[in-house]
């Protein structure tokens, strides 16, 4: 466990909190791998019945940490996105419930990671945004997760990211399942503890029943999205964004 991911035990629930305040909880490849390893190790821990994913402070997550990519080539950047895609995609098949608690903000990959969780809590005031298209490329993964939550039509305009929206709208659209007046983290914990107290074999059997319906073509959609993402990087607007963050265009 490195400093940028906090792990707390609350009975049979583990809370994983991104803690990169200086980067608004954006994800680089190291914290992505860290998260993947942590999820792997929690599968084997029989005392863990549910996992909560949240941000430690500020917000849930700001997506890919573009600053961390300074000096990277486009090929390296695409490769990193592919690893993030695989992690987000794995949540649906993960053999324990994963609950997202969105306070503050969920931006870009952060919003997609939240939407990829089984159950999503958001505070009313949390800011949700998918700013990929405005900065010159498409969301590189998570299309299937968004479609499962929103349906094909709403997923498309949410992915265009024309406007930011708040937790109330996220709840109305189905990006979030439950709304909290104040702290989503507190509501998510109360829910997770109730879920974790249920017979776990039945919770898992139930999760398995809906895996295929959520997973419709998620791998091929992620592959398409990453290819389209790489293609977008050649365009002027994307190049300008890359230069802004010090990347080799």
């Amino acid at each position: 466990m490195s400093a940028d991911l906090r792990q707390t035990r609350k009975g049979n629930v583990v809370v994983l909190a991104l803690d990169r305040p200086e980067r608004r909880n954006a994800m680089d490849i190291s914290v992505t791998r860290n998260l993947a390893d942590t999820f792997d190790s929690l599968v084997k821990d029989e005392t863990v019945n549910a996992v909560i994913l949240q941000g430690h402070s500020h917000g849930f997550g700001a997506g890919t940490d573009l600053k961390a990519l300074g000096g990277q080539t486009v090929t390296e950047m695409v490769s990193d996105e592919r690893e993030m895609a695989a992690l987000a995609r794995s949540f649906n098949r993960y053999p324990k419930p994963i609950i997202a608690a969105v306070d503050g903000f969920a931006i870009g990959g952060g919003a997609v990671f939240a939407a990829s969780c089984d159950v999503v809590f958001t505070s009313e005031a949390a800011k949700w945004a998918l700013p990929e298209v405005p900065i010159g490329w498409n969301a590189a993964y998570g299309i299937a997760a968004l479609q499962a939550r929103l349906g094909a039509i709403t997923a498309r305009h949410i992915l265009w990211g024309v406007d930011m929206f708040d937790g109330l709208t996220a709840h109305k659209l189905g990006l979030a399942d439950f709304i909290s007046k104040d702290s989503a983290a507190e509501s998510a914990l109360a829910y997770a503890q109730k879920l974790a107290a249920m017979p776990m074999h039945a919770v898992l059997a139930t999760k398995r029943l809906t895996v295929a319906a959520i997973d419709r073509e998620s791998t091929s959609l992620d592959n398409l999205a990453i290819k389209a993402f790489a293609d977008c990087l050649a365009f002027d607007e994307a190049q300008a964004t890359l230069r802004k963050f010090g990347m080799v265009g």
Partner: protein, 246 residues
Amino acid sequence: MLEIQKNGAVVTISIDRPERRNAMSVGLSRQIAETLDKMEKDNSVKAIILRGKEHGFCAGSDLKELSEFTLEEIAEAEREKAAVARSITFMNTPVIAAVDGFTMGGGLVYTISCDVVFTSHDAIWHLPEVALGWNPGWGIQALLARCGPVVARHVCWGVDPFDGVEAVRLGLADFLADNTAAIAAAEYADKLAALPEHAVAATKRLCAPAAGENGQVLDLMANQLFYESCKHKTAKASYRRFGVNI
């Protein structure tokens, strides 16, 4: 166990087992199946309402009835109920559910397997299966068709019951009744029954493939997982509380 009333072209089927909170026994499920079949063949019937006579719609499987059953027989009984619920989508006659009071477990799944669902604001909706130690044994396709796979997952986990307002928000129910769901459903059924019957039936058939899609496969999978879950010690403990030793 069933009260059947005909009013014009609309037949209302009311579950009437007040002493068992309208729980679904195998006998009741068979009676519903036979009644639906009879109404489907009766040309004078243009819409069917399914409701509970008192208290609530249905409290789910009648666990007390199962005391004489082996686990294999319980799983078989669930398969039979699954087939009845699944068949509603493929009938020509529209079936409208009216939920007042409560709808739980298999009762909830029966409810949402109907074509149109009315609920009162304060009706209690809940799937308590997982808390008892097993997964919902059927009806996943009906949930998928109504609320999509993500909502279906957490509704099946059933961490907390919810009311009719939330049921409509989630898509489990279609209409929120100002007073009782039974009255609102009756008004709707009268209007639906007055429409050209062949066009109503053709429309229902057009929507059946999408609504029913993987119903049989998912029911089979759910039944197998249900059977395995019931062997677990927490499930056995729940059954024992209802006098069932499996």
